[in-house]
């Protein structure tokens, strides 16, 4: 990474079961995902001296990362929780790299785990502030407001939204970890009920239990571990920040600023990317994200998802695991796990041929935050 000495790597990834997992606590999803990532790296829990987490969305407890460390029975040198909602788990990698560069820690675990499906999911449908009196409830309605504006400004169509849902489900059908593995057709999409027009049910990700985690270390340490390291080439952030309906341009996100920073940081451009894992809580999000990253012109994101161009085997495979829409509706940690598996060639039937450079996108709130990471085989 330019601007920081040395190179930094993801050396282990892990997860817990996705979907409806009764009997597993928030803590269990975090700790067991981290333990799986530790095993994947060929390390032991005693090696981990940094623990960073995004707080569980459904309850947002205080001092969460120290609690996860305690449950791992370790006393870390570095810990913390970052509140960028769904963008937090790339932001935390940036924090981990700074801690490694400063010599504060050697192996840092980053996790997210929550059980909103079998525990409480109220936070997902809770009205936000005074919005309730306006009849606006739940994330789908807010993102649908963005989709409507994008359709108005750029001519994006319902058919193009459907393409995103169909493509990601196609990939999930090749992913044994995915919550939804049955392929869907255009007819299935059109028959799914409206939640908040223009969104149908199949435009929306499910609420899912699950955990995912990764281990970050220096290039030097990465070379001695169980698997080939995946190199972190660049990270960017960009945050529209304002509440969605007050933003100057509702049809845009933080992806343009975040993507530009990540590409500059990596010394790479869109043409260098072999595949993307893009935050897709709703079908409009990858459309806006891909166009703002410069894979096509602003406003052409809808067309980009036509003709199976984003399927594995297509021009630019996007969301090879099924994404939030079909693999698991968790806030983004799992997208990093999938990118690492693709670069290692562990994708099985959904493996992208020649996957050497990948891009991961995370965002949170109502397109309030955004982070981008580019990873490579090195």
């Amino acid at each position: 990474m330019k601007g920081i000495e040395g190179r930094y790597c993801i050396v282990g990834v892990g997860q817990t079961p996705y979907g409806k997992v009764p009997g597993m606590s928030q803590l269990a999803h975090n700790v067991l995902a981290i333990r799986n990532a530790i095993d994947d790296a060929g390390l032991t829990a005693e090696d981990i001296d940094g623990v960073l987490t995004k707080a569980p969305t459904s309850t947002f407890p205080m001092l969460w990362a120290p609690k996860v460390a305690e449950a791992l029975r370790i006393t870390p040198k570095v810990t913390g929780t970052l509140d960028q909602a769904g963008a937090s788990n790339i932001g935390l990698i940036q924090y981990a790299i700074s801690a490694l560069a400063l010599g504060q820690a050697n192996y840092i675990a980053i996790s997210y785990g929550d059980n909103p499906r079998s525990g409480t999911r109220a936070t997902y449908a809770r009205p936000r502030g005074d919005d309730a009196a306006a009849g606006l409830f739940g994330a789908p309605s807010s993102y649908a407001m963005i989709a409507r504006r994008h359709m108005y400004e750029y001519g994006t169509t319902q058919d193009q939204l459907a393409n995103v849902a169909i493509a990601h489900r196609h990939h999930a059908s090749m992913n044994p970890n995915a919550v939804f593995q049955d392929p869907i057709t255009r007819e299935d999409y059109e028959n799914s009920r409206f939640v908040a027009e223009p969104f149908r049910l199949l435009d929306c990700c499910p609420v899912s239990d699950g955990g995912a985690a990764y281990i970050i270390t220096t290039e030097e340490r990465a070379k001695d571990l169980a698997k080939d390291p995946v190199y972190i080439e660049g990270i960017g952030q960009g945050h529209p920040a304002w509440d969605f309906f007050r933003r100057g341009d509702l049809a845009s996100s933080g992806a343009a600023v975040s993507g530009e920073a990540a590409f500059r940081n990596a010394g790479l451009g869109p043409k260098d990317i072999d595949f993307c894992e893009v935050y897709d809580c709703f079908t409009i999000v990858p459309i806006v994200t891909i166009e703002e990253y410069g894979f096509c012109a602003k406003g052409e994101g809808g067309a980009f998802f036509e003709d199976q161009r984003t399927h594995v085997g297509g021009e630019l495979p996007i969301n090879t695991s099924g994404g939030l829409l079909s693999e698991t509706g968790m806030p983004g940690t799992q997208l990093v796990v999938e990118a690492v598996r693709q670069i290692r060639g562990e994708g099985g039937p959904r493996q992208v041929e020649g996957a050497e450079v990948g891009l991961v996108s995370q965002q949170g709130g109502i397109m309030t935050t955004h982070a981008t990471m580019i990873v490579s085989k090195g």
Partner: protein
């Protein structure tokens, strides 16, 4: 204002009144839309604060405004999220670009959702939900 029984269930959606937002809700109860305007830079703002978001001045004053505007975006809600809106389904919620400057959210009832369009001119519609409180809706501007 007399309370239309179909609006009464919305009372429980009203936020807790605070020193900051009380003038807004008192305005609606009196049948008026009141929002803050900065006395230093003239910028209107919503939600209320003790300072001007644009220039930081503490000289913010409540003004009664016409509150007309146009639909910037909208959704048609089909999901029965709350009992107060169950009998209205499907209903429109719009982001309104007020002529005064701020953008606000508001439901638009009693219109055919398929006739709604971005750019539609709208005006406030204030409906009592209890004897001493009311909510803000919008309706197509009277031509």
């Amino acid at each position: 204002m007399a309370v239309d029984p179909s609006f009464a269930p919305m009372a429980e959606l009203l936020p807790e009144p605070t020193a900051l937002n009380a003038p807004y809700w008192e305005g609606l109860a009196a049948g008026e839309l009141r929002i803050q305007q900065c006395s230093a830079c003239d910028t209107y703002q919503q939600p209320p604060e003790s300072f001007c978001y644009a220039c930081g001045s503490s000289a913010v004053a409540w003004k009664t405004v016409p509150g007309h505007g146009q639909v910037y975006s909208f959704v048609v809600v089909h999901q029965p999220y709350h009992v107060a809106f169950r009998d209205r389904l499907p209903y429109v919620v719009a982001t309104i670009q007020l002529d005064e400057g701020p953008r606000v959210l508001g439901p638009i009832f009693d219109v055919d959702p398929s006739s709604m369009a971005i750019g539609t001119r709208v005006q406030p519609r204030i409906e009592a939900v209890t004897d001493d409180s009311a909510i803000l809706l919008f309706e197509p501007e009277a031509s």
